[in-house]
Amino acid sequence: MAYPEKYKYTREHEWIEVAGNQGKIGITDYAQNSLGDIVFVDVPKVSDKVTKDAVFGSVESVKAVSDLYSPVGGTVTEVNETLKDSPEKINSDAHGAWIIKVELSDPSELSSLLSAADYEKFIAEETGN
């Protein structure tokens, strides 16, 4: 699976795609693959605040729960409602199925995130390959 070059990544396996002041956040293909079939996505409400590196929700498979960490701080502007009924979209298209959109409060936070190449190197180390 290719990791889109235009996304930035966290060591907690989230990605963010930024356009202007808006960011779309999802989880990586690596993350969905290690979780297995996703059955539920727990998300914040529109206008909730999120903080960089803090938990904003969780994804659940049948036998595991994984917290979602926000790559940036900001305010939630939209929640992907289709995931409520079809959480499996994350399994089929992790890099397309965004979870929340946020308005960034401090775009400089992006600089600490990983590039696609760095992230791929990071997961290679994590899996010991």
Binding site: D42, P44, S61
Partner: protein, 517 residues
């Protein structure tokens, strides 16, 4: 058994397929007007419920089945035949201690003066019940080496909750409840859940290379904010913490307490006592060590035993004996943590546990422990050449293998477990403890004869060979059951948690607005 290929397929010596009956839900079998009951005629004037209750009268008719007695008997008997049970064979679930449930326990718990005793009947008319509680308490204190006990908690996890509240009350009485509880990463999930429920932060302690407590790391971690450490001994990999007293000393030096999870007490009874090796408070699972039935997931009973220093904080009421010899409940407990359950606990389970202790005596209990440890070591010896043993430390009552060798062929512990079903055994515990990736956790208990153990070992060895030569057979198991590999994903995505009269069951809509956990 499947013979789709000519590759190796094991021979199931323990079982032969036989027919089971199909059976729908009771609601689907119901038809209006049938009855399975007959009340005695009313010997007082009948009443007009609507007039008496007014707005509070029930107007709708709940959908309950309407069936005759023979249909009800068949319904539940048919369902029962779909279950595996200890009465059918070995149940090697690690950490669950699935031992024989003696039938005399069931018999005595149903004696009229016991089963029909009302919890609020006068103490003068409850001396038999109180005597049973007293004797069981005395036996359990002697077995654990503790000074005081409460039988009130309804299950093991409830006992943990009570035990950690005792810890909290103890520290509180010294002016500061303290902040965190240390829990090894090998612990059962109830331990951290309990500590959090009691308002403590959980500090995880990484196990050492032998799967035990790293005493040096622990010493670094313990400070004046440490309320307690929750320790399972023997640990969840079946290993006795031989540095247990150092662990207790490290904690006690900083004023912290040692909580012992008694889940694995079946390895210790009559051989060593937690109270002697430094534990301050512990719970017991009567449904594990003391043979009360699991019943498909309860009822349990989780007595908590403790040292004298914690006695003032025990849940109210506490059983006392008056100078006249009569037993009574003492409710005057100013320092008590309060009640954790109404009344006195799962008394019916006390009766069964005491019957078990009396039928065993000191010699029987010791022999029980020895046989449990003997059986686990026998299995270990007979399987260690085909399954990977991640920790070579001596095993007590259970042995933990890993699926490391089998994963090379794409077969995981869960697959081997499912394949065991085809061989006529309940699976062992899979994927626990978490410190062993792909764990196979096997606890035979003392209740297995050598013949049954040999059948199990034979099954496990045949499966290991199937993994090498015919792995798809294992990954698609079980092949002999009424249903196979149920779709848990859909069950969780679109939950159907009740039958609906319309026929088609509807999935529940989940509102994610209710979110904090």
């Amino acid at each position: 058994m499947m013979a789709t290929t000519d590759r190796f397929t094991g021979t199931t010596r323990k079982v032969t397929a036989h027919l089971t009956q199909n059976e729908g839900l009771s609601f689907e079998k119901s038809s209006p007007g049938k009855k399975g009951y007959k009340l005695a005629p009313l010997d007082v004037p009948a009443v007009d419920a609507a007039a008496l209750l007014g707005e509070a009268v029930r107007k709708d008719e709940p959908t309950l089945p309407e069936l005759s007695e023979i249909e009800i008997i068949r319904h539940f008997t048919r369902l029962s035949t779909w279950n595996y049970a200890i009465d059918l064979g070995m149940y090697p679930l690690g950490s669950c201690t699935m031992k024989y449930n003696p039938r005399v326990n069931e018999f005595v718990s149903r004696l009229e003066g016991i089963a029909e005793a009302h919890p609020y009947q006068p103490e003068s008319l409850s001396q038999g019940a109180l005597g049973i509680i007293k004797l069981l308490q005395d036996c359990l204190m002697e077995i654990t080496g503790m000074d005081a006990i409460t039988l009130q908690p309804a299950a093991g996890a409830h006992g943990e909750f009570t035990g950690i509240m005792l810890v909290r009350a103890y520290h509180q009485s010294k002016g500061n409840p303290r902040k965190h509880v240390i829990i090894p990463d090998s612990a059962h999930g109830t331990n951290p859940a309990t500590a959090a429920t009691c308002g403590y932060q959980v500090v995880n302690l990484k196990s050492n290379a032998q799967g035990g407590v790293d005493v040096a790391a622990l010493a670094q971690m313990v400070n004046e904010d440490t309320a307690a450490m929750m320790l399972t001994n023997p640990s969840t990999i079946g290993v006795f913490e031989n540095e247990i007293h150092k662990i207790a000393d490290v904690l006690h030096d900083k004023g912290a307490l040692l909580y012992m999870d008694g889940a694995n007490m079946n390895a210790l009874v009559g051989k060593t006592r937690p109270g002697d090796f430094g534990a301050d408070v512990m719970h017991l699972n009567l449904h594990k060590t003391f043979s009360t039935p699991h019943g498909g997931g309860g009822p349990g009973s989780g007595p908590v035993a403790c040292k004298k220093t914690l006695e003032p904080f025990l849940p109210s009421p506490v059983l006392k004996q008056g100078s006249n010899g009569l037993l009574y409940w003492d409710y005057n407990r100013p320092q008590s943590v309060g009640r954790v359950r109404m009344l006195y606990g799962n008394f019916g389970m006390f009766v069964r546990a005491l019957a078990y202790i009396l039928a065993n005596g000191p010699d029987g209990l010791r022999q029980t422990t020895e046989d449990a440890v003997l059986n686990a070591n026998y299995i270990r010896r007979k399987l260690e050449d085909v399954y990977d043993l991640p920790y070579s430390t001596p095993s007590m009552h259970e042995v933990v293998f890993s699926d490391k060798r089998q994963t090379r062929n794409g077969v995981k512990t869960g697959d081997i477990a499912k394949r065991l079903i085809d061989y006529g055994f309940h699976p062992y515990t899979t994927s626990f403890p978490l410190i062993v990736p792909g764990a196979l956790m096997i606890e035979p208990t003392e209740s297995e004869s050598r013949e049954e153990l040999d059948l199990f070992i034979d099954a496990m060895r045949q499966i290991a060979r199937e993994v090498e030569e015919n792995p798809e057979l294992v990954t698609s198991a079980p092949h002999s059951t009424r249903v196979s590999r149920l779709d848990e994903t859909t069950a969780a995505r679109k939950p159907v948690l009740r039958w609906q009269a319309a026929g088609a069951s509807e999935a529940v809509e989940i509102d994610s607005a209710a979110k904090e956990w």
